[in-house]
């Protein structure tokens, strides 16, 4: 099937080339980071995880959200998702790949990465994260590829695929739960020290991932003519709506506990993010925008007329994606580090090289995603008798 990715229009090749160039630029800057150290980023002694780990966290969510397609389609035989499920699975593949790259670019000594395997340490959540991410990547490649191949040959998927599909459902939940456990089990970080962190991560993931998939399905329809189906998009849009609502609800629960209890070590991080602390307020406009975007999106997605209108649907999904990205990819990580354990305020702002490397990783992810989607649309067209 891979040959499908090798035949394409001029636009296709130009797009791949553009992504490759962006990736190459990011890679060159990464070489500079390898040489100098992580000092070329905006991270500091106080904010020791920044943009990279935040993107990792956000993308684990996008990857996990494939379960929102897999579960209805395979477990409940929801046929409407027949054309879009494999798109979700391959989005998960590209996302997990980016997650792993973000972990690697964040390491101070990436050459020693294998120490995690040489000295396996089950009491470290990072060890479990490595296992669940690799497992999830494996599951989605195998499942997506086999099911697509079966569809192409007009046969039923292999029998042994079925248990893997069922396994992939709890596994999807596990990747984001373990990722939340990286943060919420740390004793001195009041912002993350909450049992609602994993549920909140899942809620925002099930909003961001499907919203992005809806946007992708429009792009694919525009460029390849392959349509995942209006009904599939509408169902997804409802999933997005309630997932954003759940995310906002969990967030408000969090705000209530912190603000009503008035415990400083829980409240001060929210204060920093939404109002600024001791004159430091770089993230304030971002956080309010994030909230506004998510609230607007919920309104648009719940009103049937607005959801069914493609233009408002596109805007709503973009709002959800950007809103949840700010929430998780910007505020969630640095918000936990400010103020620091000594209650001093040192802000974090990503540096230019850090942003370039980040964009480079995204470029590689989109490159992989493009290739995978090219295969999918090629096969689907062939099956439909147009290829």
């Amino acid at each position: 099937m891979l040959e499908k990715a090798l035949k394409g229009s001029k636009t296709y090749w130009m797009w791949l080339l553009a992504l490759a160039v962006v990736f190459a630029v990011g890679f060159v800057v990464y070489l500079r980071q390898l040489e100098f150290g992580l000092g070329i980023t905006g991270m500091s002694r106080d904010v020791t995880w920044g943009f990279y780990i935040a993107q990792f966290t956000f993308l684990v969510g996008v990857a996990a959200s494939a379960v929102m397609l897999v579960l209805p389609y395979y477990l409940h035989d929801y046929k409407t998702f027949g054309k879009i499920t494999v798109l979700g699975e391959f989005l998960a593949v590209a996302s997990v790949l980016m997650c792993m790259l973000f972990i690697i670019v964040d390491l101070g000594q990436p050459m020693r990465l294998l120490n995690v395997i040489f000295y396996p340490t089950p009491n470290s959540m990072l060890f479990w994260d490595m296992i669940v991410l690799n497992g999830y990547l494996f599951l989605n490649i195998v499942i997506g590829w086999n099911v697509l191949d079966a569809e192409r040959n007009n046969t039923a998927p292999e029998k042994w695929i079925k248990p893997l599909i069922y396994l992939s459902i709890p596994w999807a939940v596990s990747i984001h739960t373990v990722t939340a456990f990286l943060y919420c089990g740390l004793p001195g970080r009041g912002f993350w020290l909450t049992a609602v962190l994993a549920p909140r991560f899942l809620a925002s993931a099930f909003a961001a991932g499907p919203a992005f998939l809806i946007l992708l399905s429009f792009i694919i329809r525009r460029f390849t003519g392959f349509d995942a189906g209006t009904r599939a998009r509408q169902t997804l849009a409802k999933i997005v709506a309630y997932a954003v609502l759940a995310n906002l609800f969990f967030f408000l629960c969090e705000v209530f506990v912190a603000v009503y209890s008035q415990i400083p070590e829980h409240m001060s991080h929210l204060q920093y993010l939404f109002f600024g602390l001791h004159g430091h307020d770089a993230l304030v406009p971002w956080m309010w925008s994030s909230m506004a975007l998510m609230v607007l999106a919920v309104i648009f997605l719940i009103i049937p007329a607005a959801r069914q209108n493609e233009t408002t649907l596109i805007f709503s999904c973009a709002f959800v994606f950007v809103g949840t990205w700010i929430d998780k990819g910007l505020g969630m990580i640095s918000g936990g580090f400010v103020p620091n354990p000594l209650h001093e305020v040192n802000e974090y702002i990503p540096s230019i090289p850090e942003i370039v490397i980040t964009i480079g990783v995204y470029a590689l992810g989109f490159l992989v995603l493009t290739l995978l989607y090219k295969v999918v649309t090629g096969v689907k067209k062939e099956v439909a008798g147009q290829g």
Partner: protein
């Protein structure tokens, strides 16, 4: 290069499924400190000489009443020069990359959540030295994915293996005391007079106070204790007859963030 590393990671990922399952059985049974044991036993960090100082659990009492800014500076300089701690602020003016093993701060920063509202002028402004607490239940050790940081079985000191650390900085997020520093760049250009008897670090690894394990091994007291003019008492917390235990029996001493259950081995008389 990127490509080969990605392939490498994938293969690594598959093989970990097997390795991980095995280690689960071994690793999950004992608690976190026992799990860290083998690292300490197979490779002693500092070889004890005959006159080495021994304890079951090393601890420190800091009497803030006997400390002034000058003494604190002396302690900090003694520690940082002996351990080749780079001065990124002095050399490059970069506060983000700062590395410190012991430093002094105000009472309200050393004890957030325990701040007394109407503190005496002396305490309000007194310098409070802070350093790694060598917790009996260290969250940094629990978080480390490679056991590069571990609690030494024989005396409870929380140590770092600079050669094993992958620089993920999970331990820094886990430490509730901000005791750890990361080498955001090569530290060597920022070391004024290198002490050949202690290793310098490389970029990309975490470091922190080691309770002068290298000095205890040759029968010396920690550098900060020597420079403190008697304000710091160092000894075995497990020995009821030690000076440190007698001091703790006589004076009311507090610890930083005791509510977090890390059981710091550094006590403060305020």
């Amino acid at each position: 290069m990127e490509n080969s590393r990605r392939r490498f990671l994938k293969t690594a990922g598959f093989s970990i499924l097997g390795v991980g399952a095995g280690s689960m059985l071994i690793g999950l049974a004992p608690g976190p400190s026992e799990a860290a044991g083998p690292a300490a036993e197979t490779k002693p960090v500092f070889v004890d000489r005959p006159d080495a100082k021994h304890a079951r659990r090393w601890g420190m009492v800091i009497d803030t009443r006997g400390l002034d800014a000058r003494t604190c500076r002396k302690m900090e300089e003694a520690c940082h020069s002996i351990h080749n701690v780079p001065d990124h602020i002095g050399k490059f003016g970069n506060k983000n990359h700062e590395i410190k093993w012991i430093w002094d701060t105000e009472f309200k920063h050393a004890f957030p959540g325990q701040e007394a509202e109407f503190l005496s002028d002396r305490l309000e402004n007194a310098p409070v030295p802070v350093l790694c607490n060598h917790c009996d239940n260290p969250p940094c050790v629990r978080a480390c994915p490679t056991r590069a940081t571990f609690k030494r079985e024989k005396d409870g000191i929380v140590l770092m293996d600079f050669h094993r650390c992958i620089g993920c900085r999970f331990c820094m997020a886990a430490c509730p005391f901000g005791a750890r520093s990361f080498n955001f760049r090569d530290p060597r250009p920022a070391i004024e007079d290198e002490n050949p008897e202690f290793p310098t670090r490389m970029k990309g690894v975490v470091e922190k106070c080691n309770f002068c394990a290298e000095r205890l091994a040759v029968g010396k007291m920690p550098a900060c204790v020597e420079a403190s003019g008697g304000a710091l008492t160092f000894g075995d917390l497990n020995d009821p007859d030690s000076d440190i235990r007698k001091l703790l029996a006589d004076e009311y001493a507090i610890r930083r963030k005791p509510n977090l259950g890390t059981f710091p081995s550094v006590f403060y008389i305020v």
